[in-house]
């Protein structure tokens, strides 16, 4: 007999599979896209949208909602897939990726329901999220703010200005999740501008740091359930992930950071992902 907890974890795995399938679907419609960073983030997004975040999809601007900022905006296909499954937008929008006058372009646009900030230029989301967390605290509101960062993105210096500020302001209502897939646009992060020792850096900056396997749904849920990880610090979840997770030929390669998706490639990917049934 499966417990409620196991059933929940299994359901979230289904949600993550649905996100991945819809990422491939959106990219096939557009002809190309950021597959790698969308699929590395799928499990994290599933846990956020279908378990952790307090949201009202029918009332996207509900003032009490938790805020989520996708700072690595090029993973918008995955965010759109989550927003569609959650009911913020119609499923048909996923077939409008990159299309003329579409609300669903390569990067999140604040005009689309459920999107909290237009992103795409890397290294903006953390400071915006700090502003949201400060706004909650200054107005006595209990909503929480979560921001997702990319590892290559962390090379932007603005992140480190934000890292300082969030700790200075003791923002325990702020969580950053790092999609640490180890690969950026042109190659491995470690060979371009290495981030290590990363957990030590954020700890030294004054954050409560936890490292998890970003594809282990139980571990993700456990880390999110335990928030805030310290009473007077912002929380950083370093999620170790695999770029392109779920489809063998696209995993762990910078070539799949942003690539063409033909019908043939799409069919192969779908066959590998399966339908989860």
């Amino acid at each position: 007999m499966t417990s409620n907890y196991e059933a929940k974890i299994n359901a979230l795995r289904e949600d993550a599979l649905n996100i991945r399938r819809n990422v491939w679907r959106a990219l096939r419609g557009a002809g190309s896209g950021h597959m790698g960073g969308s699929c590395s983030a799928a499990d994290l997004l599933a846990a956020l949208y279908f378990d952790h975040l307090r949201l009202r999809p029918q009332e996207p601007n509900w003032p009490g909602r938790d805020r989520f900022v996708l700072s690595k905006g090029h993973a918008n296909a995955a965010l759109g897939a989550a927003l569609a499954r959650a009911g913020f937008i119609d499923d048909s929008v996923l077939d409008q990726f990159y299309a003329y006058q579409s609300p669903f372009g390569m990067h999140p646009d604040i005009k689309m329901p459920g999107v909290e900030m237009s992103t795409g230029g890397l290294g903006h989301g953390l400071s915006v999220a700090i502003g949201m967390a400060l706004g909650a605290r200054m107005q006595g509101k209990d909503f929480r703010t979560v921001v997702m960062l990319g590892d290559g993105e962390l090379q932007e210096g603005s992140n480190w200005e934000g890292a300082m500020a969030a700790a200075q302001f003791k923002l325990s209502n702020l969580t950053a999740i790092l999609d640490y897939n180890k690969i950026q646009q042109s190659g491995p992060v470690a060979e371009m501008q290495d981030l290590e020792p990363l957990a030590e850096k954020f700890t030294a900056f004054g954050w409560a740091v936890r490292e998890i396997d970003g594809h282990d749904m139980a571990a993700i849920v456990e880390a999110l359930d335990a928030l805030p990880h310290a009473a007077d610090k912002p929380s950083m979840i370093i999620a170790h992930t695999v770029k392109g997770k779920g489809v063998s030929f696209a995993e762990d390669s910078f070539l799949w950071h942003n690539n063409l998706v033909t019908d043939e490639v799409y069919e192969k990917a779908m066959a590998e992902l399966g339908d989860g049934a």
Binding site: A30, Y100, E156, M192
Partner: protein, 325 residues
Amino acid sequence: MTGAKPDTGRPEWDVKSEDQSRLAFGLAVGELARRDDKVVAISADTIDLFGLRGFLEASPHRLIEAGIAEQSAMGMASGLATTGMRPILCGYAPFITTRSLEQLRNDVAYANQRVVIGAACGGIVLAMAGGTHHAVEDLAIMRNMPNMTVIVPADARQTWHAALATEQLDGPSYIRLGGKFAEPPVTEIAADFQIGKAEQMRPGGDITVIACGCMVPPAIAAADALTGEGIGVRILNMHTIKPLDREAVLAAAADTGAIVTAEEHRTSGGLGGAVAELLAREQPTAMRMVGMPDEFAIVGPTARVREHYGMSQQAIDTACRELLA
């Protein structure tokens, strides 16, 4: 695509008809590096965007990877230049301008350092990516930097010539490039390229269209159609926005009395702005400006979005007819 290319008399990129200016710029980086051992490329996670992988493999010590850190890349370029190196910074137009703008203004333009900035994906080449990835204010910003030379090549061939011409410059330069799709060749292979000297692509005495970059081909198409109706349209390919070719603009105003500008940029502050400022001071002339309105662009396929905002042959045709009416 390495620095050491065989001397065939033809640049190797010219063999293909489907040229891309960003790749021509990358090849020119290799050529410049071959000619001058002070030349060093700086990437901000943009190696493949500029086709620099071959160059990196052949000469790893000649490429500095700054990571996704445009501000740091810009500052490093300035510092390298102060030591006598010849840095060529390869970035995305939307990020290498506004993201690192203060470094660009202070460390590069104000300090007047010999930094060449290659800016791929200018205009709305990345239309499907949304407003964060459009660069339709970059020319206005760059034009307002004292010491800066601002070039918008019309095709890959011209990019090659423009990049090589930066060798002669003593100050900083900005070269705006296209994206990952073909730009139809419109200039001659062996065209004489001079920074600050407009290229007349069609003669004509009734009206002048001054265009730059990807608006040159539609300008030529519009001119050829109007010529068929007996209207003489002069076309100036104004590849250098700064310093502007005063003589060519003033002569066009005097000879034709009507000027249309066409650019993939907001109509304020760029090519149209530069031409209008000059004419307002020296020779007020009836004008129309073809370009982006004061808006953030919608998402969509680039060609479609260009049409949406009237950056097209049709819009140039309409502007000409309005002025001639």
